[in-house]
Amino acid sequence: MITVNTRILKAEFEYFTPNTIQEALHLLDQYGSDANVIAGGTDLLVQMKNEVISPSHLINIMKISEMSFIKAEEGWLRIGAATKWHEVVEFCAKDRKYTALYEASCSLGKVQVRNMGTIGGNLCTASPAADSAPALLVFNSQVKLTSAQGERIINLEDFFKGVNLTGMAPNELMTEIQIPSIHNGMGSAFMKITRVGADISKISCAVALERQGDICASCKIAMGAVASVPMRIDQANRIVIGKKVDASLVEEMGKKVSEEINPITDIRSTAEYRRKTAAILLKDVFWKAWHRAGEDR
C-alpha cells in the first residue's frame, strides 16, 4: 500500500486569480485539461494531497464577485456557483421555502467546511454522496455551464455521469444553479444517515411533493450514495401520485425504492444495508415533506 502525506501538497502548480468570469474562461480555454478550478478547495485540496489528481494550473474563482450571489426572481431561485455553504444556509433559514435544500446545507460538513466550501464545488466534484444533489434534484434544478464559446443550461439530472465524472468540458465553468420557484401546497425534506454526527452520507434522501388535501398531486424522490451518481427515483414515486396517501401506500413505495436503487459496498456501508435502510429513510423523509405541505404558510 502506498501511503500519502496529507499534510503537504507534493507537486507545484501555477496559480491564477481572475477577477471576472471572462478572465477565468480565457484561462480555462488556454490550459483546459491541465487546469483545475479551485473554489473553496475542500474537495480539491484533499484530492491533491491524496495524490488522486495533480493539476499543473489552478484557477481560483473566489475573487469573481459575479459568481457569488443568491437571487429570487422571475420564477427562479438563482445561486452563483461560487456561493459558500454558510451563505446558502443563512438564505434558506430566512426564506423557509426550500426546506430540503436547507436541511441538506445544514448537514453538509462541519462549520469550517461550510465557511469555505461552495455549492458549485459540491456538484462539480460529482461524488455520489454529494449532499446538495438529492435536494437540488427533487426541485428540478438546472445548472448553467459557461465557456469562452458560449453558455448552455442543462438539467442537473443530466450533469452527473459517474463517480467524480460530469458532463462538463475541460474549458467549461459552472456559473450558476437555477431552482424553479416553490409554490403553496409544496413540501420538501432531506435526511441523511451517517456513522457519526458530522460526516459524509452513507445514504441520503430528498423528497419534494405537492399535496391537495389527502391526495398527493406530485412526488419527486432523489437519493445519494445509492448508485454511481446522485439518483432520481422515477418508478417508486408513481405509487403515490394522484392517490389518497396512507401508511400502506408509503410502505409499498419504500419497498419499491429498495429495488430501484443500485448501491455498492464500500468503506461506509454494504449494499445490503443501503437497500434495507433506503426503504425506511424514504418513509421518514416522505412523511416529513407530507406534513410540511399540509401546513399553512
Partner: protein, 157 residues
C-alpha cells in the same frame, strides 16, 4: 520555482511572507510566521486542530492555500489571548479542566471564539454544532462545552 510575496494581517499586524503556490496557510503560519499555536493534525479537514479565524469565520488552514489568504485577516489562538492576557474563554478552559493533552485546544478556542462573535449566549446544542469540526481524543467534550458556556458568561461581564 515561482515564488509570490504575500501579505497577511496576522493577529492585527500585517506580515509578509514569500511562498510558493503549493504551500498551505497552515504551513506558512507555522513555518514562516512563527504561529506554532496553530496545530498540524490530519491535513484534510477532519480534525479542526488547524482552525483559524479567516475574515471573521472559522476555517481549516490546512485546506486553505497561503495564496488564498493574501491580503486577508487571520486570527489564531494568540490573537484571541496570550498567557499574560488570557481571554475569558482560555481562563474558562483551564478552570473547567477542559484541557488534557491540549492538542485540540487551540482549534477548539478558535471555533468557540468565532461562535461567540456571532452569538454571545449560545445553548449547549449550538456550541456542539460550532465545535463539530473539532475532534478531541481526550476529554469527551463535556468539559469543553462547559468551558465554552462559562467563557461566554465571563466575556459578557
Amino acid at each position: 520555482m515561482k515564488t509570490y510575496l504575500i501579505e497577511i494581517k496576522l493577529n492585527g499586524e500585517w506580515q509578509k511572507a514569500e511562498v510558493t503556490a503549493k504551500e498551505t496557510l497552515l504551513e506558512v503560519l507555522r513555518n514562516k510566521l512563527g504561529a506554532t499555536e496553530v496545530k498540524n493534525g490530519c491535513g484534510k479537514g477532519d480534525c479542526g486542530s488547524c482552525a483559524v479565524i479567516f475574515n471573521g469565520k472559522a476555517v481549516n488552514s490546512c485546506l486553505t492555500l497561503a495564496l488564498q489568504a493574501n491580503g486577508k485577516e487571520v486570527t489564531t489562538l494568540k490573537g484571541i489571548g496570550t498567557e499574560d492576557r488570557p481571554h475569558p474563554l482560555q481562563k474558562s478552559f483551564v478552570q473547567h479542566g477542559a484541557i488534557q493533552c491540549g492538542f485540540c485546544t487551540a482549534g477548539m478556542i478558535v471555533s468557540a471564539k468565532a461562535l461567540l462573535d456571532r452569538n454571545s449566549k449560545p445553548s449547549r446544542d449550538v456550541i456542539r454544532e460550532a465545535i463539530s469540526g473539532n475532534l478531541c481524543r481526550c476529554t469527551g467534550y463535556k468539559k469543553i462545552i462547559n468551558a465554552i458556556q462559562g467563557g461566554a458568561l465571563e466575556s459578557k461581564l
